[in-house]
């Protein structure tokens, strides 16, 4: 089981590298899509526990702003330090918000997350002198050990994806990971097994915030600029859509979902630049109607049809 899966991931990486080499722009969009995939993976983690966050943009944006502030205040341009700053600021923020929010469920959890992210959106927009307001803040062209990384950011993103996906795969096979699905179906039993449900959620909230921050920092460095719109609910919706489209049931799902979304948006910009919203809506609708489990459910369709025929 382990061998072939690892091999396929290697093939996927090779495909991504090939696409990136073929077109320099593709490496940029792959970087952004995969970075958003990391954040969507964080959203998917909570979806496993039956919790839908409508405010995960908070951590995605915190990652971007964390990196931007490190550059602005300390003049740091080193890629790894910037990433670290983004990851840490989102994780710390996740620890604080998580401590409060993991007590809530269902619509309350969704809305309180939304509220938290929108509070930050307003703050960042308002505190013009501190944050650049709606104009946002620039990020420097990053360096890596003093060198210009060129395609380095793309490869670093790819490495982050592999480390996080691999780590999360193992994590999901652990008792803590399996406990997530258990939260979705029966919190009482989990408590009666001696496990603190809110404690487990708190840990996962922090992990998902960290993933959001890492993705946000990578995307922000690639884009070179952060704006308050990162905090806006539309960003959260996009992350949620990516996770749902890809299917929260697998680690690869959110990446698949985000790649699909970016792909559709790009193709729409290419062929119908004024109808990109409609194209994305139709694509989401199609997946929701025909593959309700998300893209990762496509592989099950033939079996389902077979069963339906029998």
């Amino acid at each position: 089981m382990k061998g072939p899966r690892a091999l396929l991931w290697v093939c996927l990486a090779a495909a991504a590298v090939a696409v990136a080499l073929a077109s320099p722009w593709a490496s940029f969009i792959l970087t952004v899509a995969l970075a958003k995939g990391l954040a969507a993976l964080g959203v998917a983690l909570l979806l496993r526990a039956g919790l839908m966050s409508l405010g995960h943009a908070l951590f995605y944006a915190a990652g971007g702003y964390g990196a931007a502030y490190l550059a602005r205040w300390l003049g740091v341009t080193d890629l790894l330090l910037l990433l670290g700053a983004g990851f840490l600021s989102a994780t710390v923020l996740g620890l604080f918000t998580g401590a409060v929010l993991v007590r809530y469920r269902a619509i309350f959890f969704a809305m309180l997350n939304l509220a938290a992210s929108m509070v930050f959106f307003s703050l960042v927009t308002k505190l013009y002198n501190l944050t650049g307001g709606s104009d946002g803040m620039p990020l420097p062209v990053p360096t890596m050990f003093g060198l210009k990384p060129g395609q380095g950011l793309f490869y670093l993103t790819l490495a982050c994806v592999f480390v996080c996906a691999g780590g999360l795969r193992r994590y999901l096979d652990s008792a803590m990971g399996q406990g997530l699905g258990a939260i979705a179906t029966n919190e009482i039993r989990l408590e009666y097994l001696g496990i603190s449900v809110n404690g487990l959620l708190f840990v996962n909230y922090a992990i998902s915030a960290g993933l959001g921050g890492l993705g946000g920092a990578l995307a922000a460095i690639a884009i070179g600029h952060v704006t308050p719109e990162l905090f806006f609910w539309t960003t959260s919706a996009q992350l949620l859509l990516g996770a749902a489209l890809g299917g929260a049931g697998s680690v690869a799902g959110p990446f698949a979902g985000m790649l699909l979304l970016e792909g559709v948006r790009t193709a729409a910009s290419q062929y119908a630049p004024l109808l990109w919203e409609m194209a994305m809506g139709l694509c989401a609708l199609a997946v929701a109607l025909f593959v309700p489990q998300g893209l990762s459910g496509i592989v099950d369709l033939p079996q389902q049809w077979k069963r339906a025929v029998q």
Binding site: A175, G177, Q178, G181, A182, I188, G194
Partner: protein, 247 residues
């Protein structure tokens, strides 16, 4: 025999309904105690108080020297008190084996992010708990797909997998056909005896009580109205009267 659990002067009320009215009860180490009483007499409430689900308005439950009434269910579980539910509480989307793996992991060290839940020592324990109740056959079935009787057994198996010192079972055979009930009880009680687990079980079927209980406590309107050896209690006509409604 030594007392293992002591309920003192418990009081619980839901609005106007008194569900526990100055309940005093001692559970002795290694005994099997049956709780009987008509519907709504407060049996489940007692179990809920002892396992931390309900905080009593007054009174206290001691497990050894530890007062339980202010503790969370999870803290009580960690002290060595497990519980099976009147309505089985399973992880519906997980397989039976995964349900038990979670229980085994919960006992042995849950907070290890990178150690697989299916590691051999957990598997062994999970399989053992399944084996005790003859559940090996449905290990790979999803919990949601099981019959009610099997769900009850899995529910009990999860409590067993925690290897508790004291186990509460709330009507282990309700909703199960009487043929099935005998099989279940035979399996469960055998396993408990072998494992040496002190047991408190709520039961409607007097036949089961006679067979398996060392002692009986009779509930009525939130009070313990009688307790003693099964044959003595079950022959008291007044008591039979009071629990007749439940059949």
């Amino acid at each position: 025999m030594k007392p293992i659990l002591k309920a003192e002067d418990l009081q619980v009320a839901f609005g106007g309904v008194i569900a526990a009215d100055r309940v005093n009860l001692t559970v002795l180490a290694d005994e099997v105690l049956a709780i009987v009483g008509s519907n709504g007499s407060g049996k489940t409430t007692f179990v809920n108080v002892c396992t931390g689900y309900i905080k009593p308005r007054r009174g206290e439950v001691y497990f050894g020297n530890t007062a339980l009434s202010r503790l969370h269910p999870r803290a009580i579980t960690r002290l060595g008190i497990a519980r099976a539910f009147q309505i089985p509480q399973l992880f519906a989307e997980h397989t039976v084996l995964e349900n038990l793996l979670l229980a085994a992991a919960a006992r042995r060290g849950f907070w290890r992010p990178f150690s697989a839940i299916s590691r051999p020592c957990y598997l062994e324990e999970a399989r053992e708990a399944l084996g005790l109740l003859g559940l090996e056959g449905c290990a790979s079935q999803r919990a949601a797909q099981l019959s009610e009787g099997t769900r009850k057994l899995v529910d009990i198996a999860m409590a067993l997998a925690l290897r508790p010192r004291l186990l509460f079972m709330d009507e282990p055979t309700s909703g199960v056909s009487s043929d099935e009930a005998i099989v279940i009880m035979e399996a469960v009680m055998g396993a408990l005896a072998r494992a040496g687990i002190t047991t408190v079980f709520v039961e409607h079927d007097m036949e089961m009580v006679r067979r398996y209980a060392h002692r009986v406590a009779v509930w009525e309107s939130g009070r313990v109205v009688a307790q003693g050896q099964p044959h003595g209690i079950l022959h008291d006509s007044q008591i039979r009267e009071s629990i007749a409604g439940m059949a």
